[in-house]
């Protein structure tokens, strides 16, 4: 088991390395084809000399592999940006993910500020969609063919089909601007005021959870129906177990195991930033940061967030696989 985890972790490092190389390459290309970040940093119409000086200062004149190695080294050891001329040094302690010419701050700092927002959004939404999706799915399966089941599945189909920017805008319009149930969303930190934190996040949570819960409801229902037809459910009934034990213990255990897999993956994905939802509700999370960085050609930020997001997904994958072995005794790790 431990050997399996170590081996998977080494694999994970390689995956992240490849992703960083590809993303770094794209960033490098973007600056070479699309224009130097000097224009972002120096403001209106800098002279060619100024641009050249800037590129030298930030090491942008060096060959691709040197830049990449410097960048990777920065993640491990940290580095000092700038050419050493007084006043130009910019300390970037490990893990240094680059520097934002737009915000004049290290990418690591920007991510550190944005991550709690994204995490609040992701974790709250995840709990909401997991609980509602799974319970609707289970109930639907048990009442298969009933009016409740059919209506739940119609709503679920709508949930799967509607894009979050649509649901989000509708929710904003109805609950904020029409019914005035919530103030216009403004992110408040949990440590500052937990109540306000939750109040401001409810609509974004619902927005994300609606679509995902719909997916989970359909998935859980299908699993549950399949499980209920299994021979071992018939065995459990033949033993004389009450129906609630047959359903609650024997059927649920099997029906919910695959849900772990998609849940881990979805949560990992979401922790890398929910671009559309964050943008819709102006939440300053990783997704919001990404959109703004792309719009302003602030590619080091995109690069840093991509690496962090990739890491979340890779780790989520690993956690899911390990967890599966705990839940399903048939799974063995070699």
């Amino acid at each position: 088991m431990l050997r399996y985890i170590v081996r998977r972790l080494i694999g994970a490092v390689f995956v992240v390395l490849i992703i960083s190389l590809v993303t770094f390459g794209l960033q490098y290309l973007a600056y070479h084809v699309g224009g130097s970040p000097a224009y972002l940093f120096l403001g209106k119409a800098p002279s060619p000399e100024q641009v050249a000086a800037f590129e030298k200062q930030w090491g942008l004149d060096q060959p691709f592999y040197v830049q990449y190695l410097n960048y990777m080294k920065g993640i491990v050891t940290g580095r000092t940006l700038g050419d050493g001329t007084p006043g130009s040094e910019q300390a970037c302690p490990a893990p240094c993910l680059g520097y934002s010419f737009q915000y004049h701050d290290t990418v690591t700092n920007l991510i550190k500020q944005a991550f709690p927002v994204t995490a609040s959004l992701a974790i709250g939404a995840a709990i909401l969609w997991l609980v509602s999706g799974v319970s609707i799915g289970v109930l639907s399966a048990l009442k298969k063919g009933s009016i409740a089941d059919r209506s739940a599945m119609v709503v679920a189909l709508a949930g799967v089909s509607l894009p979050v920017y649509f649901t989000g805008l509708i929710l904003l319009y109805v609950f904020v601007y029409w019914l005035h149930l919530f103030p216009p969303p403004k992110y408040t930190e949990f440590t500052e005021n937990p109540l306000l934190w939750a109040q401001n996040l409810i609509l974004p949570w619902v927005t994300i959870a609606f679509g995902t819960a719909a997916l989970y409801a359909r998935f859980t229902r299908a699993n549950m129906l399949e499980t209920l037809n299994e021979d071992y459910i018939r065995t459990a009934t033949s033993k004389g177990l009450p129906r609630r034990t047959v359903i609650g213990k024997h059927a649920l255990r099997s029906a919910l195991t695959p849900v772990i897999t998609i849940f881990g993956m979805d949560l990992g994905l979401l922790l890398g930033g929910a671009i559309l939802t964050e943008k819709t509700f102006s939440l300053p999370g990783l997704g919001y940061l990404t959109v703004n960085a792309i719009a302003r050609s602030d590619f080091q930020v995109v690069l840093g967030i991509t690496i962090v997001a990739a890491m979340f997904i890779v780790v989520a994958n690993l956690v899911v696989d390990v967890l599966y072995g705990v839940v399903d005794p048939r799974v063995r790790y070699e």
């Binding site: 021979d231 071992y232 033949s238 004389g240 009450p242 034990t245 099997s254 048939r330």
Partner: protein
């Protein structure tokens, strides 16, 4: 006869009711394509200490019958009628909760495929403990001791250690033994075995059958064994019901059905069975055609379309349902061919060719 049955019998006027008495059982499933007549007017009985074999092809209604006895059709769309009397009590008219108490405790079931019939995520031991504790108010420790004892009794070596194993860690034969241990943990008086050896190696089959007979002797339980394997039935059953198209086409004790067989379908089954003790005379002789659709049953004799002898009698075979006529003792046959003629055919044509 057990003490309980005797005591009950004393209160009743008339003949002792059998331990299990199935009377005119009908199980129909309404579907979008029409009514599926899985079981139509089936009657049989079993006494304690006796074994009844139900034989037939897939789709002849064998398993549906066993599930009806377990009350497993409750809450489904199935339409049932008739009576299933267990010690004089009609299972079909019992409320759900009381049927649940019978399951596992009085009537236990052994299924065909032990791997898919055991829950993959729970240990063998915990599944047996669960079956015991649902009917017996005992502590976990007592139930565990009981489970280990049962595993030991069905011949699982190192039972205390295997208790914590999962089903996938057992071999096929061991799994079926565990399944039997689970079925027997509450000392049921009726055991229904639905193709208990079909998924097993031939060598293991014999062991499992032996085990079931041992258990029957020890507990004086009634066994219904459902199978398409005539060899298994001949070996362990006392009485036989041959089913075709949802009804009984021939029944009697094992000697009557297999050695004085009178129904063309039974002949077909006997002829399609490989024999090692005879000289090989070319290919096996399977019954032509396939079992009838249970939605559109043939008008006359259900077996007529596949019957080799349908021209012997002619018209009635295609237009009139034959009755299940008693010949002698408990031997009854559903066929339009006259009894004497059938006997002659069996002795002169069929038996010599087997």
């Amino acid at each position: 006869m057990t003490v309980t049955a005797d005591a009950k019998g004393a209160d009743l006027v008339g003949p002792d009711p059998a331990f299990l008495d199935v009377r005119d059982l009908v199980v129909h499933f309404p579907t979008d394509d029409g009514l599926v007549r899985s079981v139509d007017g089936l009657s049989f009985s079993v006494e304690r200490g006796k074994t009844l074999g139900i034989v037939g092809e897939s789709g002849s209604g064998k398993s549906v019958t066993s599930q009806a006895i377990m009350g497993l059709h409750n809450g489904t769309k199935a339409k049932l009628s008739g009576q299933i009397l267990l010690e004089g009590q009609d299972i079909l008219s019992l409320p759900d909760d009381e049927i649940r108490r019978l399951r596992g405790q009085k009537v236990a079931m052994i299924f065909q495929d032990p791997l898919s019939s055991l829950h993959p995520f729970f240990t063998i031991g915990s599944q047996i403990v669960e079956a015991y504790r649902v009917h017996n108010k005992v502590t976990k420790a007592v139930a565990k001791a009981r489970a280990i004892d049962m595993l030991d009794r069905v011949g699982i070596p190192n039972a205390a250690k295997r208790y914590d194993d999962y089903p996938h860690q057992f071999s096929g034969g061991m799994r079926q033994r565990a399944m039997i241990a689970m079925a027997l943990v509450c000392d049921p008086s009726l055991i229904i075995a639905d193709e208990p050896t079909t998924a097993l190696d031939v060598t293991v089959q014999a062991q499992i059958l032996d085990l079931m007979l041992d258990i029957q002797r020890e507990f004086n339980s009634a066994i219904i064994i459902i199978t398409h394997d005539l060899g298994v039935v001949a070996e362990i059953a006392d009485d036989v019901v041959v089913m075709y198209g949802g009804r009984c086409v021939e029944t009697g004790d094992v000697r009557e059905v297999f050695y004085d067989s009178e129904m063309p379908y039974t002949w077909g089954l006997l002829r399609s069975m490989p024999r090692l003790d005879r000289e090989r005379k070319g290919r096996l002789d399977p019954i032509p055609g396939t079992p009838p659709s249970l939605i559109n049953l043939p008008k006359g004799c259900v077996f007529a379309p596949r019957c080799q002898f349908k021209d012997k009698v002619g018209e009635p075979c295609r237009t009139e349902r034959p009755g299940l006529d008693l010949i002698e003792g408990g031997h009854a046959v559903r066929c339009h061919i006259p009894h004497e003629e059938r006997q002659r055919m069996w002795v002169e044509e069929i038996r010599p060719a087997l």
